[in-house]
Structures are given as C-alpha cells and as structure tokens.
C-alpha cells in the first residue's frame, strides 16, 4: 500500500504532465483515423497549449457532456475569422473569440463539432495528438499550409 499509492500518483502525474497513449473511436475523423483501434500518442508537456496550431489534432472534453472526450482537428485559433461551410451558396463567417478554438472532424458528414457547439474554449482541450502508434504508425501533427483567404463584401 505504501508503495502502491505513490506509484499510482506518479503514473497519474505522468499522464497529466507528460502525455498518454489512448485509443480513438468513432467515425468523425475518417479517413484520418479509423473507426476503432487507432492508438494515439498524446502530449501534455508544459507549454503544449501554445504548441497547438491550425491543422493539429487535439483531444478535448465535449461541451455537451463533461464525461466524454473527443478528438478533432483545430481549424481556427483565437481571433481568426473562419468560413463555416465553403460549399454552401450563402457563406457564413465566424469570428473566433479570445480563448476559444474551432474544432472540426475530418468526416464532415458525421461529426459533432464546432459547427454544432460553436467555438470551444481552449480550457476544454486535454492534449495535443502527436502520432498514431498502431496499427499504421504515422505522425498526425500539423502540416497544414495556411493560404490567406479573400473575403468578398456581400
């Protein structure tokens, strides 16, 4: 018991301040992540929040259910102006408030994300996904190039 409790605390602290390995589930990030079975490496080293870039995958707590976590892609940082759905005829833009991000699943047709919840507070983020370890090892951090958009005044 005297050994078990500090060991458990140590492991818990490593999970909270270094990172963890976790399995992703659900269709909202297809084709980037499989429906089930992808083992992800998630980092939480101090300063990880500042390393989150547009294009990164992050783990966050669902605003509708605090017991539930999800993984989605960051498409907007605080202060960005984001076009909600470029495929529609009438374009809608959102200004992301201070302290919030826009999260969206890669599988647009089957994802509950910022298109439903709105911009999500950065405080709800729980880690930055670095890589998928298994079954097909690959890095998942940002390699998105940002091309400035041109807004037309309607």
């Amino acid at each position: 018991m005297l050994i078990a409790f500090p060991t458990a605390c140590f492991i818990h602290t490593v999970f909270d301040y270094v990172g963890e390995i976790s399995m992703a589930m659900g269709p909202s990030m297809l084709p980037t992540l499989n429906m089930a079975g992808d083992i992800l490496l998630i980092e939480r080293l101090p300063g990880w929040r500042d390393r989150v870039r547009v294009g990164d995958l992050v783990v966050f707590v669902s605003p509708a259910n605090p017991a539930r976590r999800a993984t989605k892609r960051v498409l907007g940082q605080p202060g960005d102006t984001l076009c909600v759905d470029p495929t529609k005829d009438k374009l809608a833009y959102v200004q992301i408030p201070r302290g919030h991000v826009w999260l969206q699943g890669d599988n647009y047709t089957n994802s509950t994300d910022s298109r439903i919840h709105g911009p999500i507070p950065q405080a709800m983020l729980r880690g930055r996904v670095l890589a998928c370890l298994w079954p097909s090892p690959r890095t998942l951090s940002s390699n998105t190039e940002i091309i400035p958009g041109h807004f037309t005044d309607n």
Binding site: T7, C9, T13, P63, N65, G99, A123
Partner: protein, 144 residues
Amino acid sequence: VGTVAAVSVGIFLTDNVLSLQMISGRSMQPALNPDSNRLWRDVVLVNRMVKGGMTSRLSRGDIVTFTSPFDPNRCIVKRIVALPHDCVVPLGKPDSFVRIPMGHFWVEGDESFHSNDSNSFGPIPLALVGGRVIRPIWPPSRFG
C-alpha cells in the same frame, strides 16, 4: 526515488483532492474578500474532487473555481446559480430567459455590480470546473 514519490503525491493531491486558492476582486463579496478597504485577500480551501464538472457532485449555490473560457491560464471563482436544463432570467433583461444547455451551467458573483459572470458571457461548460470552495482559511480571523 523518495523525492520523485513525494513530488508526485503532492502534485496528485493538489490537482485532485484539496488545494488552496487566493481570491482576487470583489465579485463574491461579502462571502469572499469582504474587506472593502481591500487590505487583504482571502485564501480558501478548495475541494478538487469535483473537478471536471460531473453534475451529481455539484449543487446550485456552491461556490466553485473554474477556468475562464476566455483565458485558459486564468481561474475564476463564482457561485453556481443554475445547472443544465434550468431556465435563468439574466440580470438586466427581465423579459427574456435563457435555458441552460446540456453540459453547461450558469454562474454569478454575489456582488452583481462588480461581477463579470454568466450575465455577460452566458452559460459555460461544466468541464471548466476546477473545484468547490470549502471555506476561507486565511487570514486567521476568517477561519474561526
């Protein structure tokens, strides 16, 4: 090894069991920081076992600490006024009401004139909750 163990236990207990918080501002007067001359700031004991916001452990009327939705490095202390699915009439808008969505709650400072709370920023997610304030423990006159 002993130091690592001690530090881990310390971090675990502070993050998940009990911690201390210094209160700034007047928004929770007279319950917290009651000195109108602002000569001191209360330090309160915080129950961290309610971190994460699972509703069954939180009640209306609890004073909670939570992370600001506008700044992930900032901690705010307010009172829970409403929980998911409640209806709230916001201060200053007596003809309207807000229904608290699933997973969210409504906070207000006891001192409404000096409080930046849900009356300005609306309902916020329960997942932001970091702990429930138990009682002030500093200065010693507040502990008695």
